[in-house]
Amino acid sequence: MGPLIPNEIISPEWNHVFAVLIGIAFGIVMESSGFSSSRKIMGSFYGYDFTMIRVFMTAAITSLIGVLYMDYFGWIDRTELFVVPTYLGATITGGALMGLGFLAAGFCPGTSFLAAAIGKVDGMVFIGGAFLGILFFGEIFPLISDFYYANYLGHITVEESLGIAPDWFALIFAVIAVVVFYVLSIIRKSVEKVKY
C-alpha cells in the first residue's frame, strides 16, 4: 500500500499539506517538552539534562520498529522509501560543525524556530545566523564542491553498510538505546540539578 504518494494513493500536491501539519504537531510536542529553552540542548553537552538525547533516540527506535512492522504487514514498501545519499566526509564535517553551532547558540534549527515563535530574541538571531550561514555556504560551494562530493556511498542505510538484517539492527539499536538511557540516568544523578 504505502508509501502513499509514490503509489499514487494520494496526489503529490498533498505532500506540502502533510509537511505543514506534521511540522505543527512536531512544534507543539517540542514546545510542550520545553525544547524552546536553549538550556535543554546545553544540558546534553554539560550533563545536567538528557531530554534531547532521550527524545531523539526514542523517536529513532519508534520509527525504525514501526517501519519494519508496517513493512512486514505489507502496509508500506520499505524499498520505496527515500534514503538520503551519504557523502561520508561532508557528513562528518557537517555534523561536527552543526554540533559546534548547537554548543555556541544553544539551539538546533528546529528549536530555534520554536523559540522565535514564542518571541525569544536569541531564537530570532539564531535563524538570522542560519540564513547567513546558508548564504556563505552557497557562495563558497564551488571551492569546496570536490570535498562535498567525495566518498560518495550512495543511498545507503546503516544496516546495509554493516551487512546485517534490518530486524537484527533494530534489536541491537534498541538494546544500545536502553543501555544509553540507563547510563544517562546515572550521570544525571551524579550531576547537580539545574533549575530553569
Binding site: I65, D167, L171, A174, V175, F181
Partner: protein, 220 residues
C-alpha cells in the same frame, strides 16, 4: 530510572525481539503484480522466429535459447545452441545461474508459447531481466523457418525477401534442398531427370575405365 522509562525500554526490546523472531516472509522481492500485468499485456516479451533465426545465423553471442520442454523432447529436436531447462526446474537454484547470465537475452521456447510464457512469468516475478519468449514456439519455428511457404504473387518485395531469408535459414538449420519445392509442380518430369542424371554418371565411369586401361597399356 523511573517506572515509565523501564516500561518503554521493555516495550522497545520486546517489539524488536518479536521482529527478529517472526518468520521471514517469502517473495518479498517479487515483482509488483500490477507492473507484471502491464508487461504481460504489452507483449514486449515476444521475439519473432525470424529475429531469433537471424541472430543465431549471425552468431550473436548475446542470445541464449532455453528449451523448457522435457528432456526427451529436447533430445528429439532442439534449436541449435539451445539449453534444456524443463519448466518445473526453471527456479531450481543450480540451473538459475544460466538464466542470470549478464548481457544475455534469455529466450524461452516450447512447442507453443504456453510453457515458455509460464517460465517467463516465473522469472519475471523474480525480477530477472532480459527474459523473452519465442513467439509461436517450435510450431511456428517449423512453419516459418524450417518449411517456409513461398509468398503469394500479389505480395510485395518484403514478403519475397523474407521468404528468401527463411529459405536460407532452413538450409542453415539443416533442412535439405528447398529447391524441391520449386520443382514440385513438375513432378512428372522429376523421374526422367533422375534417370538422366544416372546415365552420365555411368558414362563417366566408363571413360575413366578406358583411360586407366590406356595407361596400363602404355605402361606395358
Amino acid at each position: 530510572m523511573s517506572k515509565r522509562y523501564i516500561f518503554i525500554s521493555v516495550v522497545f526490546i520486546a517489539m524488536a525481539l518479536v521482529l527478529v523472531l517472526l518468520p521471514k516472509q517469502q517473495n518479498r522481492d517479487a515483482f509488483r503484480p500490477d507492473l507484471l500485468l502491464l508487461e504481460i499485456n504489452s507483449g514486449e516479451r515476444f521475439l519473432s522466429v525470424d529475429h531469433i533465426a537471424e541472430r543465431i545465423i549471425q552468431g550473436d553471442p548475446s542470445i541464449l535459447l532455453v528449451d523448457v520442454r522435457s528432456s526427451d523432447l529436447y533430445d528429439e529436436y532442439h534449436i541449435p545452441g539451445a539449453i534444456n531447462i524443463p519448466l518445473n526446474e526453471v527456479l531450481n537454484d543450480s540451473l538459475n545461474a544460466a538464466l542470470l547470465l549478464p548481457f544475455k537475452d534469455i529466450v524461452f521456447y516450447s512447442n507453443s508459447t504456453l510453457s515458455a510464457d509460464q517460465a517467463w512469468i516465473l522469472c519475471r516475478r523474480n525480477k530477472m531481466e532480459s527474459q523473452y519468449v519465442m513467439e509461436g514456439g517450435l510450431n511456428t519455428w517449423f512453419d516459418h523457418i524450417m518449411t517456409p511457404e513461398p509468398p503469394q504473387e500479389v505480395e510485395g518485395n518484403d514478403a519475397i525477401a523474407l521468404y528468401e531469408f527463411r529459405k536460407g535459414a532452413s538450409v542453415f538449420f539443416g533442412m535439405p534442398a528447398p529447391v524441391v519445392q520449386y520443382t514440385a509442380p513438375e513432378n512428372t518430369n522429376a523421374k526422367p531427370a533422375a534417370v538422366k542424371k544416372s546415365k552420365p554418371a555411368k558414362q563417366v565411369i566408363e571413360l575413366k575405365k578406358v583411360e586407366e586401361e590406356e595407361e596400363e597399356e602404355e605402361g606395358c
